[in-house]
């Protein structure tokens, strides 16, 4: 296994790098997009609420692979050429953002409505009340499920392998088919995933304790 690792070191590392990059980008943007849609789902304006709801229901209920293929194969035909890495990362971002929206919305709903009322009664706008009072409390509630979403995101980034995204899974497949050493290859791939996911799990638990 050590030999397999050293002789394919650069492939593994580059795969790890692309997986890490895709995960970080998708995490950042899905958190922002997901939070925005979560807020859209609770605004007073009904039309906006419907938009938020439709977005979440669509992307939460389609397989990630289908969304990714759509960006990889369909978008280039009509809009812009994008490579596998970009298509995979965009697909991953949108798919994850729908789950994050649901999670954050649940958090917002678990904040006592009296908090919003008190803020509004002092003349704050809906957005000011959200930003200063409701969201900070909501995020505290949703930290544990949010951590799960982040871990899922990293694991789901293996979808890049299907669209030639040069990620860890893609490199693993390539190495396995060259060396025929499938067992050791996928063990190593698994360990690389753990290197990303375990610190996330650990850090979320730590944050949770700190904020409790």
């Amino acid at each position: 296994m050590i030999h397999l690792l050293t002789s394919n070191w650069s492939a593994f590392i580059s795969g790890f790098g692309w997986t890490l990059l895709s995960s970080v980008l998708a995490l950042f943007f899905s958190l922002i997009i997901g939070s925005l849609f979560a807020i859209l789902e609770v605004v007073p304006n009904k039309a906006l609420r419907i938009i938020g709801n439709v977005y979440v229901e669509i992307f939460r209920n389609i397989p990630l692979l289908v969304i990714t293929m759509f960006f990889y194969l369909v978008i280039p035909l009509y809009i812009v050429k994008i490579n596998g890495f970009a298509a995979g990362t965009v697909g991953l971002t949108i798919y994850t953002s729908a789950f994050i929206a649901e999670t954050v919305r649940a958090g917002i709903n678990s904040v006592d409505p009296g908090q919003m009322e008190a803020a509004r009664s002092q003349g704050m706008t809906f957005w000011q009340a959200m930003r200063h009072i409701v969201l900070p409390q909501a995020f505290k509630y949703v930290l544990p499920p949010l951590g799960n979403q982040f871990v899922n995101l990293v694991k789901n980034s293996s979808v890049l392998a299907f669209v030639a995204g040069f990620d860890l899974m893609y490199q693993g497949n390539a190495i396995a088919s060259q060396t025929f050493d499938t067992v050791n290859t996928y063990v190593i791939v698994g360990i690389f995933y753990l290197i990303i996911t375990l610190p996330i799990s650990y850090y979320m638990q730590h944050l949770e304790k700190k904020l409790a």
Binding site: G114, Q115, E117, S121, Q122, G123, Q128, H132, I133, Q137
Partner: protein, 246 residues
């Protein structure tokens, strides 16, 4: 223009349910009005329409010269001038006591940080809680939380205050300190107050006027003395005898 709040034929529905039935009510600047009535009669609903937390379906509701029901009215502008104190305090759970008082003046009034802090500490001192400035709401008692909530409202320099059963959620030994603060607030000559309460002794002390509601209607609207001496409405009389007995 001497009225602070004026209801003109106001109707409020929750879906099919007729919660406020043809309310006509004028409260003058500087007045202290106590609103009483059995549970479910619409007292909270009435007070919450005044700052637009509940919308009305018909009629006019003029607060500080502006019609709340008019779509062009900026409700946030009205709310600056109308403080509200809730039964369950609703202090901002993610902010300490001092921040609770300073937040709205900072982001709504854009008050300078220095002035804001000075004002907040003075208000906390007034309600006897300057030493709790850096506690979180969960670390102080209900009575203390309610006094902070009053300080928080006063920080906006309101012209009118709405109190919705401010002592109903409190342990008996906490009530007096809160009532004392409310009494001080209402005693300021330019402050208009609408107070929903079951504390009749307190009502007799602070009220200029008493309003009795039942089933979404105002059944009696009298000066304090007339109300407590000889209420004319049958249900008001019954209600009073029940509530004063225990």
């Amino acid at each position: 223009m001497s009225s602070m709040i004026e209801f003109r034929n106001v109707q409020k529905y929750y879906g099919e349910f007729h919660a406020l039935k043809d309310i006509n009510l004028e409260i003058d600047k500087g007045e202290t009005v106590v609103l009483i009535g059995p549970s479910g009669s619409g007292k909270s609903t009435l007070s919450r329409t005044v700052n637009g937390l509940e919308t009305i379906q018909e009629g006019q509701l003029i607060v500080n010269g502006r019609d709340i029901a008019d779509r062009s009215t900026d409700i946030n502008r009205i709310r600056r001038d109308v403080g509200m104190v809730f039964q369950h305090f609703n202090l901002y759970a993610n902010k300490d006591v001092l921040e609770n008082v300073m937040l709205a003046p900072r982001i709504v009034l854009k008050m300078s940080e220095e002035e804001n802090k000075k004002q907040a500490m003075a208000l906390l001192d007034q309600v006897g809680l300057a030493d709790k400035a850096h506690n979180m709401p969960s670390q102080i008692s209900g009575g203390q939380q309610q006094r902070v909530a009053i300080a928080r409202s006063l920080a906006m320099k309101p012209r009118c205050m709405l109190f919705d059963e401010p002592t109903s959620a409190l342990d008996p030994e906490m009530i007096d300190d809160v009532l004392k603060v409310i009494k001080y607030v209402t005693s300021q000559s330019d402050m208009t107050s609408l107070i929903v309460t079951h504390e009749m002794g307190f009502a007799q002390e602070v009220a200029n006027r008493v309003i009795f509601m039942a089933d979404g209607q105002i059944l009696e609207d009298d000066s304090k003395d007339k109300f407590f001496d000889h209420p004319t409405n049958e249900r008001a009389t019954q209600f009073l005898s029940k509530i004063i007995k225990h």
